[in-house]
């Protein structure tokens, strides 16, 4: 008799299906699982509030990423009002704890993504994780397509350098490890 109270509508189901992808994206952007949970939940709550604004269901995914982007921007502005978020980089890109797990490719890649400036990080993850077109990324982040391309190119170049440390650096790390 209570079943109809627990039957989610179609929109709820669609949000449910998108949730893991949103979480993966939020984690790639903020590198903090707990904060990623918060951001996704907040974004989903906003999506529920604003569902009437989505006129074309085929654009649900891009619409949700735009909400997630706005949610994170608000969070950053509230937390770091003194910083220009376009210039934000992870301050600690070579901390001992990061070097500690340097043998792990997953950790290396995540560290490289986290070290990217925020704006580049968003572009590269939207393209590579979600498979967004450049046009979709431009709409989500509200930037020109040319900017999407230049940020993507810079992001990948930076990641390549980060993931292929020069031999001198690597040797020096090994030297420190020798007991």
């Amino acid at each position: 008799m209570f079943s109809h109270y627990f039957r989610p509508n179609r929109f709820d189901q669609q949000l449910t299906e998108q949730r893991p992808k949103l979480h993966r994206m939020a984690l790639a952007w903020c590198n903090d699982p707990a904060l990623a949970d918060d951001l996704v939940q907040d974004a989903l709550a906003r999506a529920l509030e604003k569902q009437e604004q989505l006129r074309d269901e085929t654009r649900l995914s891009g619409w949700l990423y735009k909400i997630l982007h706005n949610t994170w921007m608000e969070y950053l502005r509230a937390r770091k009002p003194e910083l220009d978020i376009d210039d934000m980089e992870l301050t600690c890109t070579d901390c001992p704890e990061k070097q500690f797990v340097a043998g792990q490719i997953v950790d290396q890649v995540r560290a490289a993504v986290s070290a990217l400036p925020l704006t580049q990080r968003q572009v590269v993850t939207l393209v590579d994780l979600e498979g967004c077109s450049y046009e979709q990324v431009a709409l989500i982040l509200d930037i020109p397509q040319g900017t999407v391309m230049s940020r993507l190119s810079r992001a990948r170049e930076a990641m390549r350098k980060q993931l292929q440390p020069d031999i001198t650096q690597e040797q020096s790390r090994h030297l420190r490890r020798v007991k």
Partner: protein
């Protein structure tokens, strides 16, 4: 995608890797690729990065969120209801693609076998120092894991294939020796790279023990999903 305004070849290479070009545009960029090996290597590197990023962030079951002071309680309630819906409709997510997690604390090349017994050494450069380094690392690992029934692969792609290429490598006898001494050490070349040589009319002959994988990147990713440890040179 309109690329009429795009003058930067590098941007177009990224657009090709990301599937943003139509058939005619792709043909144009592929023509450059055939003529310029450096661009082929660049494309290979972009694709490798794309694979790595996808591997680093697998889709996984999400936990209920931690509380956060800046959120309104009624919003939380709405989303908890949504999460309840998840339990009815999502089922149990597979963890098949989750990367194997190792205790990396304190690991060095000298004690690696205490932590693992399966390693991939990936090489995509023909810089002399890197060729030597790849062989030294692989041999060191092969010595260690031999006592633990382990395996080591040297996987080569792009210019790294020169390590195994007859006429280009200085290490033919060493590779054969290593292969005989350590049967669990294997040498792999990327078929995509060999194909690009073939398209340029260059016939590539490889050192005797070399095996060929369809794609070095896919080979690495597949083995990482199975829990192998990856070392980039």
């Amino acid at each position: 995608m309109d690329i009429s305004h795009v003058s930067n070849r590098n941007d177009l290479l990224h657009a090709l890797a990301d599937g943003q070009l139509d058939a005619a545009q792709s043909r144009e960029v592929l023509t450059w690729l055939e003529q310029e090996p450096a661009l082929q290597k660049e494309l290979c590197e972009i694709q490798r990065l794309k694979h790595l990023i996808r591997t680093a962030y697998p889709l996984a079951e999400t936990k209920p969120a931690a509380k956060h002071p800046y959120r309104h309680y009624w919003r939380q309630a709405a989303v908890y209801l949504l999460a309840l819906g998840l339990t009815f409709f999502a089922g149990v997510n597979s963890s098949h693609y989750l990367p194997h997690w190792h205790p990396a604390e304190g690991i060095t090349l000298d004690n690696a076998a205490e932590y693992d017994n399966r390693f991939i050494v990936f090489l995509d450069s023909h810089e002399p120092a890197k060729l030597e380094k790849a062989l030294n690392k692989a041999e060191n690992l092969a010595q260690q894991v031999g006592r633990k029934d382990g395996s080591v692969y040297i996987v080569t792609s792009a210019e790294g294939i020169d390590l195994l290429r007859l006429g280009a490598t200085q290490y033919e006898s060493r590779i054969i020796q290593m292969s005989q001494k350590y049967p669990h050490l294997r040498f792999v070349a990327c078929s995509n790279t060999l194909y690009s040589y073939k398209q340029r009319g260059e016939l590539v002959e490889l050192v005797e023990p070399t095996e060929v994988a369809p794609s070095a990147v896919e080979f690495v990713v597949k083995h990482m999903q199975e829990g192998w440890r990856y070392i980039a040179i």
